[in-house]
Amino acid sequence: MATATEPTSPLIGAPVKRVEDPRLITGAARFLDDVRLTGLAHVAVLRSPYAHARIRGIDTSAAAAAPGVLGVYTGKDFEHLSPLPCAWQAGGVENHVATPRALEIDKVTFTGAAVAAVVAETPEAAEEALGLVEVDWEPLDVVVDPLRAVEEGAPQIHEAAPGNVCMEWECGDAEATASALDGADVVVRQRLVNQRLIPTAIEPRGAIGQYEPTAGQYTVWMTSQAPHVMRLLMTAFVFGIPETKMRCISPQVGGGFGSKIFLYPEYVLVAALAEKVGRPVKWVESRRENYVATTHGRDHVTDLEVGARRDGTITALRARTWANLGGTLSTIAPGIPTTLYGRMLSGAYRIPAIHCRVVGVYTNTGMVDAYRGAGRPEATYVVERAVDLVARELDLDPAEVRRRNFVPPEAFPYDPGILNGLSYDSGEYAATLDRALKLVDYESLRREQEAARGEGRYLGIGLSSYVEMCGVAPSAWIGTVGEGWGAGLWESANVRVHLTGKVVVTTGSQSHGQGHETTMAQVVAHELGVPLEDVTVEHSDTQGTPFGYGTYGSRSGAVGTVALYNGVRRVKEKARRLAAHMLEANVDDMVYEDGRIFVKGSPEKAKSIQEIAAAAAVAYDLPEGEEPFLDETAYYDPPNCTFPFGTHIAVVEVDADTGEVKLRRYVAVDDVGRVINPLIVDGQVHGGIAQGVAQALWEGAVYDEDGQLLTASLLEYGVPRADFFPPFEVERTETPTDVNPLGVKGAGETGTIASTPAVVNAVVDALAPLGIAHLDMPLTPERVWRAMQGARTGA
């Protein structure tokens, strides 16, 4: 029987096929490179071949004279534009900010920095003219390793950042942690390298600029996860114009994984160039440009110390981390290794003493910023390796060490002491461990491992029990309590029920693969009691959608969709008032159920939401003081983040002769709170697992000592293929959160966060008979083979 909140066919929780797919599977979708404009000219960007160099001068005359060229521009042409802003100045970074300009003027600090731009009639003509631009370079000494960069005598990259230190940040209690480590039965120390990754969205970045001189109006199409924020940053901080003078549009966006959150030089450039040449201009990066000039992720070196009692109870954790931020600061770079990393170092465990110190370092490498998980994978890697190191040291089962240290269900909300006032919302951590162990048949696997070892085979089982932080918001926390974020982090939505009963919702959130048009429509249709196909979700254009901070940090469900839900609730309230008027009843007696509103106890005498929408639109007979139309806007700023959790288990076999790691099985039990669309959530988990496993086994950006990126194409960088993976075995538990009324937590990053340590733990477990307790990623055959050889020969 239906209730007021549960329609007969609940859409929330249903595996609804995505409404965005028909255009994507037929080739009808319009990605950035598919946008067609009259008079479109094409931009090619000249990039620095040096990692660190002064620009003595640039001669553009030959390029400007080349066929089809409309203009050649250097940084001096855009001196009036400010450098790009750094919007998350965590760790007191403000005195040490060095951000890119649209085109660099005096100096470059990484290979791939933009120094000149050619505008031409065709992409080919622009590309060819690039070779005619003469730059007089003065190469400078280069440093790429963050630990070398902070040593005395290292090349200095930015005058404002002595010793190449961008920021220093800490959390936790240094003294308590030192004394807890002193008093521990065992202390395990390990240096952990969390290597640099290249996000590699399959759609490269691109931008189109258009300028309308009579109105002084810019339009910028861009491959962005956050068009509203891009407009804010470009107008307020770079161009110095009101936001009303710029419209930003994200067309269909082909993946981002964080790399498309940020304000990049080229977005500013296309707007400025469109104004200069008086025509719309387009720039689309090549894959090589994507690798050298789009942001990278991770790149931490951490010295870990973990103290424990003999029974496996962890008593202290200390992490000292050097975070490589690259040659200039990307938009939110300082926030990643601080707020999103250090504050999550308690993991899923009660650790009474934690201290983390982070040094953010400039080096002559590409920019590093948020990449799927953004800080939380790095934290989870530290914590989950720490647990396994303790288990190894004490010869305990890693599953039991996890269980012994879990935050128990009765402890929620749980304050780990390092979250600057926030608390973990809800959790049943052991339930996911138990389920994952059962799914993988842990005891049989351990027996099989024992037998395999007898045959000289290296079978490994790796666990990872994680907790992460989603729905990144409370503005009052991240903006004002010292986390250094330069704005709020709320979301907004507008819900409009048209005369015909069709519903249009606009959101400031942005979809680049997550399926907002489906999940948001599910929530609206479910709550309003209208058919799913009657709901249209509009997004990604600053003209016509309310402001939003964008899609990243798994926040579109826990923040953006909740704003929408609150808008729908307001529509329902107004509908109840109108129905009461139409039925001549008391509004307090009105029941809203399955799209019908009736007097309690008299469901046969009802008004449908469509009838009410029509009545509200024609407005012939409205109650006293009521405005026409069902049209409500809501802003939502959550009181807390949400904290999904789970346990992943990887089973690997390492080839004794070649060192090749074969992933045999992968089991994931995640708890992302209430699930709106299980089809989509599973898809997010699958993709996340693939990316996290890839970090463990295959991917890693490599710079040589001159600052040249050696992994600058898909031929060198190990993006995994279909045949690299076994089927993923994915299950869920569902523990709602009371942080938001939908009970949702966030599902976009769990897979990436959990899987990397699960796989590394599995490989290290496999190699335990050789006495190997740790290996740094990626665990390529060469690296594993060398470690095995070293262990066997005692080298």
Binding site: E127, G254, G255, Q514, G683, A722
Partner: protein, 164 residues
């Protein structure tokens, strides 16, 4: 990005049957098939994701065989039949591979999807009942960053069953 100089110059007249329709065009000898399809014919469903023939986003059928259209010159397609993602569905009916990608949530951002679907269609044309390993092997020239390939494999399995 497009690299080659056009020294030697000139244009070639080619005739290609694209999605069942005969198209004649003048192309530069260096013109790649993918840009011919995208820019000259306006069929933008075929995407470009790399410059090393690695990602497979640009895959089309050339005389029935899946090829990376960034690695074929337009002049090489003279006299041939080309099928792009826009030509896969017939009479408003989705191709079984398209339908299966939709049913199984075999796509997220959708950028690799046209190439992935074309490659899967090519596989199933020659092997009506592939095992999972065969499916994964057949797709190894097409990169997807969103799905972890799990639902793509499921989609190809569904399509195989539907087409048998």
């Amino acid at each position: 990005m497009l690299g080659l100089s056009d020294e030697g110059g000139g244009v070639a007249l080619i005739a290609v049957t694209v999605n069942g329709e005969r198209r004649e065009a003048e192309v530069e000898p260096r013109q790649l098939l993918v840009y011919f399809v995208r820019e000259q014919l306006g069929l933008t469903g075929t995407n470009v994701g790399c410059d090393t023939s690695s990602c497979g986003a640009c895959t089309v059928l050339l005389d029935g065989a899946a090829v990376k259209s960034c690695t074929v010159l337009a002049v090489q397609a003279d006299g041939a039949e080309v099928t792009t993602i826009e030509g896969l569905s017939r009479d408003g009916e989705l191709h079984p591979v398209q339908q299966a990608f939709w049913d199984q949530h075999g796509l997220q951002c959708g950028f690799c999807t046209p190439g992935m679907i074309i490659t899967a269609a090519d596989l199933l044309a020659g092997n009506p009942d592939p095992g999972d390993d065969e499916i994964r092997h057949a797709l190894e020239g097409n990169l997807c960053r969103c799905t972890g390939y799990e639902n793509i494999v499921r989609a190809v399995r569904q399509a195989a069953q539907a087409m048998r």
